[in-house]
């Protein structure tokens, strides 16, 4: 499956892919079958890698892509703050994501028959697009503010590394697109963890964080906003295509013959703005023994 960069940069609701439902179902089964509290130390990295694969292979796009990354940060944050108990809190919601509509109905009927409760047939199974908001609201309702604070840190402080990877690492076009899809997912994720609302700074955050940490969040938010604006513009200008990048490579070669320093600066600038793929001019850069 190829990545739909438009769907990634313009996040919209999409159905939860069956592959994700099945993957989360298998994950849930292995956690539920284990009685070992240290299972999270294996499960969370394994899930994080799985989420990367889903995003980078285009299995999830848009809101769903942001949500699968959010799950990873929510699990890590909860485990870091409250260990086995914390990870279990978040995992209760992940289990629901791994259920099909039919499985949920069957589960609800089993609960109802055991407890004599009426089944609410209007209740729908939670899907990826609802997960982050549900978790944030749950943490607020249950006063799990330590986990919420760690989730803010984990999610918001990691975007820089993803952005730099998208600027610098790809050795081919497909990898660059996968890196940009990861970046878009991280950038979309921050909407569920806002720093401000229409009335200004979120009052809760002043209780959760020291002013110096809030300043770091604000600065990183500014950087994130630019990291969204640049690829967004490049995409609209049709610069993120193999054909355009081929033309850029040819233009670099031409400029390099006329003005070596100017050409290399032009290249570095274009890469920092997501206009030029990281692999363009690579052999020329590698020739410099730095």
């Amino acid at each position: 499956m190829s990545i739909d960069l438009r769907a990634t940069l313009f996040p919209e609701s999409e159905p939860q892919p069956d592959a994700v439902t099945e993957g989360l179902h298998r994950l849930s089964a292995s956690v539920l079958a284990s009685r070992d509290p240290s299972i999270w130390e294996r499960i969370i990295p394994a899930y994080t890698e799985q989420a990367r694969v889903w995003v980078r292979s285009g299995i999830v796009n848009g809101t769903n892509a942001a949500s699968v990354i959010f799950i990873s940060h929510a699990l890590s944050a909860a485990h870091k703050v409250s260990g086995h108990h914390g990870a279990g809190l978040i995992f209760g919601f992940v289990i629901q994501l791994g259920m099909s509509e039919a499985a949920l109905m069957k589960y609800q009927e089993a609960i109802a028959s055991a407890g004599g409760l009426a089944v609410d047939r209007d209740e729908t199974v939670m899907r990826l697009e609802n997960f982050p908001e549900t978790v944030v609201n749950y943490l607020l309702k249950k006063d799990e503010l330590g986990i919420l604070a760690e989730l803010y840190r984990s999610a918001r402080l990691s975007t820089d590394h993803v952005a730099l990877a998208a600027m610098q690492e790809a050795k081919d076009f497909d990898t660059w697109i996968a890196d940009l899809a990861m970046l878009a997912a991280y950038l979309a994720m921050r909407y569920w963890l806002p720093l401000a609302n229409d009335e200004g700074d979120m009052p809760l955050l002043k209780d959760l964080f020291a002013e110096s940490e809030l300043q770091t969040f604000r600065r990183k938010e500014a950087f994130s906003a630019e990291c969204f604006a640049h690829p967004f513009t490049s995409f609209l200008e049709e610069k993120i295509t193999p054909e355009h990048q081929q033309a850029v490579a040819a233009e670099f070669e031409r400029l390099d013959r006329v003005d070596h320093l100017g050409a290399r600066q032009w290249l570095a600038l274009g890469k920092s703005r997501f206009q030029i793929a990281p692999y363009i001019g690579l052999s020329s850069s590698q020739a410099v023994s730095l």
Partner: protein, 146 residues
């Protein structure tokens, strides 16, 4: 290694996070190429002040004044030629940076970190950027500037 090689390696390290130069601004706009060059000159000025302060008599006041003068022009006018001249003047002294321990280099790195933090960089990004700038300068010291 040429002075131009050193310059472009510094620019390549600095430009990816240069958007932080306007992170504290309420009126962020498209970051001009000139702003990146001016920001790099600002970071190098912080390095020069700290590094040459420690070198003492190895570098004359006159030389230091010339380096600072070029970097000032570069900071104020985004003048790349002035920065290249400053790097060329710094060149013979960068071997001392290469010969220093990582602990000694950390002093100069801290000066660059503080400078970048004063211009909108979060601490972790300022540390990474400063570390790369110092690393590039030390590599140039090891290779010698032609």
């Amino acid at each position: 290694m040429t002075t131009e090689d050193l310059y472009i390696s510094l620019y390549e390290e600095f430009s990816p996070t240069a958007e932080y130069l306007q992170a504290d601004s309420r009126d962020r706009a498209f970051l001009a190429e000139t702003a990146i060059l001016m920001g790099l000159a600002f970071a190098l000025s912080a390095f020069v002040e700290s590094f040459f302060g420690h070198l003492g008599e190895k570098a004359s006041e006159h030389l230091l004044s010339r380096i600072n003068g070029r970097l000032k022009i570069s900071q104020e006018q985004a003048d790349r030629s002035a920065m290249l001249e400053a790097l060329e003047l710094m060149g013979p002294f960068l071997k001392y940076l290469d010969e220093m321990t990582s602990g000694q280099r950390l002093v100069y790195q801290s000066a660059v970190v503080s400078a970048l933090e004063s211009r909108g960089y979060p601490h972790d990004v300022a540390e990474d950027t400063a570390s790369q700038v110092i690393h590039r300068l030390a590599l140039a010291g090891a290779a010698g500037l032609a």
